[in-house]
C-alpha cells in the first residue's frame, strides 16, 4: 500500500490490520507507526489486533483422528487365484455372518493404496469369461466374516469374473466385474471402520475411485477409463445396496441400464 495516498489522514482500521500483518511498505509502515505512537486509541487497537492474531494462531484444535496415517506394509495372500469363485447367479448376495472385526485395513490412503495394487494385479491377468465357483465364493464370504454386499450389476452388463480374499487375516475381499466393452471394475470390501461413511469421489491415475463405509465394512470402487457419469450411477447403486443389504430396487436397475446405454466404451 502506498503511504502517500493517506498522508493527511490517520490510519484506518484496514490499514492497521495490514500494519499488524507486516503488509505495508516501508514508508506506509513508518507513517502508521508514527500515528500509533502519538494516539493512545490507535495504539490500543494495534495491541488488540496483535493479541487477536496471536490468539488465532494458538487456537488450532487437534484433529479427531489421524490425518495421514502411515501406510502399513501391503500383505497379499499370494493365493488369489485359489479364491476365484463363481459369479452371483442373479440378484444380490448378502451374507450376515457376524464376528468382531479386530483388525482394520486402514484409512482412506491405506484403503485406496491396497485397492490400487489389487486392481492393477487383476488387470494384468488375462480376462476370464467363465464365472468363479459359487461354493468358493460362499467360503470366501464366510471367512471375510462381516455382512457384505456384492451387488448384481448385470443390468449395466457387468458380471462378476473374479473374487479373491486377500491379506493374512482375509481382511480384504476383492470382486472384479467384466463388461462387454472393455470395462473392468474392481469392488473391494475391507474390514475397516475408519473410512468416513459418506460416498467420496477421488480422481486417480487412469480413472476414478469411490470410497465409502457401510457399518463395519469399507468399500472402494475402481475403474479405468469408464465414463464418469456411468461410474457415478454404478457407485451410487452399489453404495445404496451395501447399506441396505437387499437387492436393488427396479428404478436403480433401470438407471444402471440407462447409464450404460448412454456411455462410451471404457478406454485406456
Amino acid at each position: 500500500m502506498n503511504g502517500r495516498q493517506r498522508d493527511s489522514h490517520p490510519p484506518d482500521w484496514t490499514e492497521l490490520n495490514a500494519y499488524v500483518d507486516g503488509e505495508l511498505d516501508g514508508e506506509a509502515a513508518a507513517r502508521v507507526a508514527a500515528a500509533v505512537a502519538g494516539d493512545g486509541r490507535l495504539a490500543r487497537q494495534v495491541a488488540r489486533l496483535a493479541r487477536l492474531k496471536s490468539a488465532v494462531q494458538a487456537s488450532g484444535e487437534p484433529a479427531p483422528g489421524p490425518l495421514l496415517p502411515s501406510v502399513r506394509p501391503r500383505r497379499r495372500s499370494g493365493l488369489a487365484a485359489s479364491f476365484l469363485l463363481l459369479a452371483l447367479l442373479g440378484g444380490a448376495l448378502a451374507v450376515g455372518l457376524q464376528r468382531d472385526s479386530g483388525s482394520t485395513a486402514g484409512t482412506a490412503p491405506d484403503a485406496l493404496a491396497r485397492a490400487e495394487v489389487l486392481h492393477a494385479d487383476w488387470l494384468s491377468e488375462p480376462p476370464r469369461t467363465e464365472p468363479p465357483e459359487a461354493g468358493l465364493l460362499l467360503a470366501s464370504l464366510q471367512r471375510f466374516g462381516l455382512p457384505v454386499q456384492i451387488p448384481d450389476l448385470s443390468d449395466t452388463r457387468l458380471r462378476v469374473a473374479h473374487v479373491a480374499l486377500v491379506g493374512e487375516e482375509g481382511e480384504v475381499l476383492h470382486v472384479g466385474y467384466h463388461g462387454t466393452r472393455g470395462c473392468r471394475v474392481s469392488l473391494l470390501a475391507l474390514r475397516d471402520r475408519e473410512l468416513p461413511e459418506r460416498l467420496r469421489l477421488l480422481p486417480r491415475p487412469g480413472g476414478l475411485a469411490y470410497l465409502w463405509r457401510a457399518g463395519p465394512v469399507s468399500y472402494v470402487l475402481l475403474a479405468d477409463g469408464m465414463d464418469p457419469k456411468r461410474m457415478e450411477v454404478i457407485a451410487g447403486a452399489i453404495e445404496q445396496a451395501t447399506r441396505r443389504l437387499v437387492p436393488m430396487p427396479a428404478e436403480t436397475r433401470t438407471a444402471l441400464a440407462e447409464s450404460r446405454a448412454h456411455s462410451q466404451p471404457c478406454v485406456g
Binding site: 494458538a58 482412506a108 480422481p203
Partner: protein, 176 residues
C-alpha cells in the same frame, strides 16, 4: 535428496486441518477434507518443487475439494457472507473490551461466516501473505485486505458479545 511425498505433506497437515475447520466448521468434515487433499496430492503425477508453491498448491486442492462439495449442494462460500452485514460490522469499530484467548477466539470464529473464517485462517493460521491469499482465492490483493479487516472486526465483536454475561432475572417475582 528430495523429501519423500508423505513426509513433505505431513509438515502441512495441521495447518491444512485448521484451514479445513475454517471452511467446514465441523471437525469430522475437516478431517475428511484433509484426507481427500492428501490423497489427491499423493496421487498427483507432478508436484511443485518450490516449497511456497507446494504449500499454495496443497491449500488450493483442499479448497477445491470443499468448493466441489458446496457446488453439489448448490451453495458457495461467498453466499454465506452477505456484504451488507459485513459492512455494518466493519463500520462499527470494535472497542477494547473482551478477553481474547484461544477459547474465546474459537467460539468467536465459530460464529463467523465461512468466508470470514477462511480469510483469517489463511492469513493467521496458514501464514499466507495477502498476495498469496489473493492468488489462492482468485481475488485482488485489496479484496483480501478489506475482507480480512472486516473479518477481524466481526471476530472482535463476536468475542465481546461472548464476554457479556446476561444478568440473572430477579427471583421472587411471579411471571404471569
Amino acid at each position: 535428496m528430495a523429501t519423500a511425498p508423505r513426509q513433505r505433506i505431513e509438515a502441512y497437515l495441521e495447518r491444512l486441518y485448521g484451514y479445513a475447520i475454517s471452511l467446514a466448521g465441523d471437525r469430522e468434515q475437516a478431517r475428511d477434507l484433509v484426507q481427500d487433499c492428501a490423497l489427491r496430492a499423493l496421487g498427483a503425477s507432478r508436484t511443485p518443487a518450490d516449497e511456497s508453491a507446494y504449500r499454495a498448491w496443497l491449500f488450493r486442492i483442499l479448497r477445491n475439494a470443499f468448493v466441489d462439495g458446496l457446488r453439489r449442494q448448490r451453495r458457495s462460500i461467498e453466499q454465506q457472507a452477505p456484504e451488507e452485514e459485513v459492512v455494518a460490522v466493519a463500520e462499527a469499530c470494535p472497542g477494547d473490551g473482551g478477553l481474547i484467548d484461544k477459547l474465546t477466539v474459537r467460539r468467536g470464529l465459530a460464529a463467523l461466516s465461512p468466508a470470514h473464517r477462511e480469510i483469517i485462517a489463511l492469513i493467521d493460521l496458514a501464514g499466507f501473505s495477502y498476495a498469496e491469499a489473493a492468488v489462492l482465492l482468485d481475488v485482488a490483493p485489496g479484496t483480501v485486505m478489506s475482507r480480512l479487516s472486516r473479518a477481524r472486526a466481526a471476530l472482535l465483536n463476536a468475542i465481546e458479545e461472548d464476554n457479556v454475561v446476561p444478568l440473572r432475572p430477579r427471583e421472587g417475582r411471579s411471571a404471569r
